[in-house]
Symmetry: C2
Subunit: 402 residues, 2 copies
């Protein structure tokens, strides 16, 4: 039989255990913070009717969306973000959950984008939103949640850049000029000055207006800037791409990580109304998961060892296998994460190498001497020290998993 070449689609990724454990580490921490603020999980399907998603993300979004016709002739599309599905859900089940509705959602989205460094066709988004409140307290809570999330992950220095769509609107800047301003990060000072020099007169005036504006001038910004627990920086030229924002907009940037913002969000008071027969205000954010991981790698924020296994019970010989099985069962019953080496034919050296490769801190050997003395030999994989002792003594070396 011909072998099928094992290959993967461009822009898609396998996450082998090393990488997958890092992802779970971050997801678990984020969930904890989200839940500590009273946010609850929501899941929506990977596939939606195409009409639910089309036209919500601008032309670019429609172009990048994965769309196809299913066997039943339905036009369907793969999830493109988590905000539009949230809007659909809120409209569909309006009376089934208490408002304000605080939900988080951590699922993959798909975009047929050009693949390049750090850009993928399947990637995870971590969203948190508050639906049903137009209070600036909601804005404040959302930004606070984003900032506490970064802290929990170990980031010490970061800033939340904040602006409001109202400010941009009041400036009367043209759409193209706003787009250009939004990308000034990527320009050199000279390029930026050139951009200004060739701008229309009205846009030059708009720029002056923005430069001289203050958060206190905008009612929604004023309130959140009063909250001294937040780490805000007013950036009147911040625009953010998505069409649906109506109020405050923000991005979180981490000091020492230059690839871009790791989180973006804002208020969108009209999106849900597209599906509901009334306006329902909302505010929220999405963490870009891949950038978070990258930033954590660069700043060395992952724990040294993410291996959950505390000990490998080796198999000395076919005859003594039972003893190892019993020991593994005993350790597990005590809540100790235990791996049993499951290939009886491998020699001890190979088994210890396996423990090393998987980052398991201890190994247990049970040979004829140990059986005679009713002990086990406990080996520290790090120091290579080993000693024989009763199993009841040995377990004191392991932290119990709760």
């Amino acid at each position: 039989m011909k072998t099928i070449e094992p290959k993967i689609l461009k822009g898609f990724r396998d996450f082998l255990p090393q990488e997958a454990k890092k992802r779970q580490y971050v997801i678990n921490l984020l969930k904890k913070v989200f839940e500590s603020y009273g946010f609850e999980p929501l899941e929506t399907p990977a596939l939606e009717y195409e009409e639910i998603l089309l036209g919500k993300y601008g032309d670019e979004g429609d172009k990048l969306m994965y769309r196809f016709t299913d066997r039943g002739g339905r036009k369907v599309a793969l999830r493109y973000d988590q905000t539009v599905p949230l809007a659909r859900v809120v409209a569909q089940y309006q009376n089934e959950f208490p408002m304000p509705f605080k939900r988080y959602q951590i699922q993959n989205v798909w975009r047929a984008d050009n693949t390049q460094k750090g850009r993928f066709r399947e990637f995870l988004q971590c969203d948190a939103d508050i639906v049903g409140s137009s209070s600036s307290l909601a804005d404040s809570e959302i930004i606070s949640l984003a900032e506490r999330s970064l802290e929990k992950l170990g980031f010490k220095n970061f800033t939340t850049l904040v602006n409001s769509r109202t400010v941009l609107k009041n400036s009367k800047a043209s759409l193209n000029f706003i787009k250009a301003l939004d990308k000034q990060d990527k320009l050199s000072k000279d390029e930026f000055l050139r951009l200004l020099s060739i701008a229309k007169e009205s846009d030059k005036e708009a720029y002056e207006y923005l430069k001289n504006s203050k958060p206190e001038d905008d009612s929604s910004l004023r309130e959140i800037f009063n909250n001294k627990n937040l780490n805000l920086f007013y950036m009147p030229t911040l625009a953010r791409g998505l069409d649906y924002y109506t109020g405050i907009i923000f991005e979180l940037k981490i000091d020492g990580y230059s690839a871009g913002s790791v989180c973006g969000g804002g208020r969108y008071d009209n999106l849900i109304g597209l599906f509901a027969n009334k306006q329902i205000p909302a505010v929220g954010f999405a963490f870009g998961f891949d950038r978070l991981i990258e930033a954590m790698e660069e700043l060395n924020l992952f724990p040294g060892n993410l291996t959950a296994t505390k000990v490998l019970v080796t198999i000395f010989s076919e005859e003594l296998k039972e003893k190892s099985l019993e020991t593994a069962s005993f350790l597990r019953s005590k809540g100790i994460n235990t791996e049993l080496y499951i290939d009886g034919s491998a020699n001890l050296e190979k088994q210890l190498k396996y423990a090393d490769k998987k980052g398991i801190p201890f190994a247990i050997v049970i040979g004829p001497d140990e059986v005679k003395d009713n002990t086990i030999t406990l080996r520290s994989m790090m120091t290579r020290e080993q000693k024989s002792l009763p199993i009841s003594e040995a377990i004191k070396n392991f932290k119990v998993n709760t």
Copy 2:
């Protein structure tokens, strides 16, 4: 603007917080058990090249697979199970992880099946497999893992039905007869007797052979039946549908839950060889997540309250808002899951109702009296008792989240 009807595709589901929390509860417990046995997480993409998946699940599988051509003209298919992607991964990165490779995988799969009670087009699978060992210790560990998982979820009475493909092969039963035997669960005694009476002579003989067979006769079954920690029942007519099994096969059934087995698996020593240029043995199982949830509901195994929030800090008035904000920040800094009511205009009654609906056990009220006395009023949502006390006293009522 015309409102878009908020609707969802047939066979697809939204999981609102109530349901999503139950799912997370089960997933977290399963992960814990999987990790306590040394299994590590793996993630594969939702989309694969169609040729990777086609032909691995029989004709039925090919028919039910979601397939389409992407913008780049590639023929792609949505993940149909997690075993074939595992086989592809193992072949593709053979040298990147220590063998035997123990991985678990908890992701959605998609099948364009007829929708009916308990059958969906998008559903979660929870797989665990050991790759690279043909030892019957691996079979034993896999079954042990499945059984301990059910115990951890709270199931007390269940059985693992076990058979081997070798036994079936040795019986010389015809494929059709094996398929019929496999479905005998769904037949009445009379129907089953009729099935036997119309069987070919060779199949009648095969049935006698199977009936009289013992697990001790088969070398791989003998070993696992020696493991007294397992709760096995030999069922020589068990066949399981999937084409790729080569050795032991098993299903876990829960007493008192009649909708079917909640877990199925077996040994498949040739599947990975389709992608690799050598044979790599493997054994594993998949939990049917929806059935697990259903069985847990029926047997009442979910904790009464899955709400992570410990307390709702209400907002007494616009003027006293700051006090509530401060209190919420303080509680969170102490590791207490705290929700701040984020709509300042709602009256207290509405806020307390919100706490009730979300299942939050306590509410805190900070009005003018409390501010004056430097206390807070703590209200138990269950008993409706309330008392005023300093916040430093109040926090003793909450379990800290670690």
